[in-house]
């Protein structure tokens, strides 16, 4: 008899086999597209309203073809992304600054609490027409809507993180010699950043949605504009083409942020798989 212990070949559950999960996910998507196409061809889903993958997928390809009659698709994408990024960055910075200030200054927080709660209670999308009237039909109104959406997410995340920061951490660094500024940069802001990073994907999604919705309501360019134009011509294929393109872009944006999130949270405890 040898002393070595032979471990049984570990059975890996299906949910942990990467290739299997991927294949399953692809299968679900293909099934969905196939069902849409099939139901459309069988006349169950009227293509006039619901279009069909075999109609809008070529349409998207057509948009990207040089010399497309529907206007420059790259311009639309660039416009929407610019609005998204600006709304996201400005909203995040404002949320961070105001959230930090309110958490650090009790009186300030108390004074503004009812007003902010009121603003937060407004469904932000109804502000889109207001912003278009106030800031015009171009970039500014789209960014403004994105900012109002992103601001509150980041504001609440920062406020809660700074207010509820572990007092032991603060006491410890103070005894180690931290001045006020050190406490801010070593303890409070990192605590806030980790909350913000956790809400990064949500707030970026909101900035994107804000831009598209505001474009849809009134603009000269952008993916939202493209959908609104198609709708005006009862062109459901154009509408769905735009929607699918937006979904793909959102997905891309989200996976980029997921990457950034993973990189910036190496210090966080994670359950080993």
């Amino acid at each position: 008899m040898s002393d070595t212990v032979t471990l049984g070949v570990e059975r890996i559950p299906l949910a942990r086999r990467d290739w299997f999960v991927r294949a399953l996910q692809l299968g679900v998507i293909l099934f969905f597209i196939g069902a849409w196409e099939g139901l459309g061809r069988a006349g169950v889903l009227d293509p006039f309203y619901y279009s069909r993958p075999s109609l809008f997928l070529p349409r998207i390809a057509e948009w990207f073809a040089p010399g497309s009659t529907a206007g420059d698709i790259w311009l639309d994408i660039r416009v929407t992304l610019t609005e998204t990024v600006l709304g996201f960055v400005i909203g995040t910075l404002l949320g961070l600054i105001v959230g930090y200030a309110f958490a650090r200054n009790r009186l300030l927080g108390l004074a503004f609490d009812p007003l902010l709660s009121m603003f937060n209670a407004i469904p932000r999308l109804v502000l889109a027409p207001v912003f278009i009237l106030a800031f015009g039909i171009d970039l500014a109104s789209k960014v403004a809507l994105g900012v109002t959406l992103v601001f509150f997410i980041v504001f609440f995340a920062t406020f809660a993180a700074v207010r509820d920061v572990d007092q032991t951490l603060v006491d410890n660094v103070r005894i180690l010699g931290a001045r006020r500024r050190d406490v801010t940069f070593e303890v409070l802001l990192p605590a806030a950043f980790s909350a913000i990073v956790a809400s990064l994907r949500t707030s970026a999604g909101f900035a994107f949605a804000g831009a598209v919705v505001a474009e849809y309501i009134g603009s000269n360019a952008g993916l939202g504009r493209r959908i609104a134009t198609a709708e005006a011509f009862f062109d459901s294929t154009g509408v769905f083409g735009g929607i699918v393109l937006i979904a793909l872009l959102a997905l891309l944006l989200d996976s980029l942020l997921q990457l950034a999130e993973g990189r910036s949270s190496r210090w966080k405890p994670r359950r080993e798989r």
């Binding site: 006491d171 660094v173 005894i175 180690l176 010699g177 001045r179 966080k268």
Partner: protein
């Protein structure tokens, strides 16, 4: 030896919002001579942590005076080392960065910091884990990192608030021995809080027993055990048991009183 830490008639009243004020400690007098290792035991809630926070200047006394090396405590003291019961390492900083903090706050340069941090990482056997984050360490390793973090600036006073109570018994004995070794010939004054009488006797030169809240000093005992000590053996030393029994009879009364009071306030 001149006293390193003195408390004279120190009381602390907490005034929580929307609750009645609470007298946590009442007229505490305490001298800790330089280079001595003094432990404070008492029932839960008797004000042990309060005393330590007062000495470190984290909170201010309602009355009485506190001095560290003849210097009245008025603000947070950065010339002491403080070991918290709870994890106090910055979770977003690596072990090396955590141990470097006090030196960075003092404005030292990169090279100087490395020159002083590296020996400490080696001394607490964390050199191989220098670039790990706290969550990647065991509880004992985190405690050692905290020891290095507070000792890297060589404070002459070390305040410890139940630093090892979250550890399992074996790790705890190892840490206690390591602490004694680090403290050994350092000449540092240690004020050590614990609710574990055995730990208190095994480590200290002197034992202070507190009353149930509001905390007062009930009794003080010198610990006549020879050094160097091994905490897992010293409990079999002659003198340990008799001291334990005397101190325990004091402590037991207070623990019972504190327990009865908690029952009464619960009903």
């Amino acid at each position: 030896m001149p006293p390193s830490i003195t408390l004279r008639g120190v009381s602390k009243v907490y005034r929580p919002p929307k609750k009645p004020p609470y007298l946590a400690i009442d007229g505490v007098d305490l001298d800790v001579d330089q280079g001595r290792f003094v432990s404070v035991v008492g029932p839960s809630g008797c004000g042990k942590s309060t005393i330590l926070a007062l000495v470190a200047g984290l909170i201010t006394a309602t009355s009485g005076t506190i001095t560290i090396r003849d210097d009245p405590v008025r603000a947070v003291r950065t010339d002491v080392g403080f070991l918290f019961q709870r994890d106090a390492l910055l979770p977003w900083r690596t072990v090396r960065e955590n141990v470097s903090l006090a030196l960075r706050f003092r404005g030292l340069g990169r090279r100087e910091i490395a020159d002083r941090v590296d020996p400490w990482l080696a001394r607490v056997r964390l050199a191989p884990f220098a670039d790990n984050f706290p969550h990647e360490l065991s509880g004992g390793m985190r405690k050692r990192a905290q020891l290095a973090q507070s000792l890297v600036v060589d404070p002459s006073v070390l305040l410890m608030d139940e630093p090892f109570s979250a550890l399992d018994v074996q790790t705890r004995n190892l840490m206690e021995n390591e602490l004694l070794e680090l403290w050994g010939a350092s000449g540092k004054t240690v004020l050590f809080i614990t609710h574990d009488l055995e730990e208190a006797i095994a480590l200290s030169d002197e034992l202070v027993v507190m009353t149930a809240g509001p905390g007062r000093i009930k009794a003080r005992y010198p610990v006549p055990l020879p050094r160097p000590r091994n905490v897992s053996e010293v409990r079999f030393a002659p003198g340990f048991v008799s001291l334990y029994e005397r101190a325990w009879s004091d402590l037991r009364d207070e623990v019972l009183r504190s327990y009865e009071r908690s029952l009464r306030s619960a009903s």
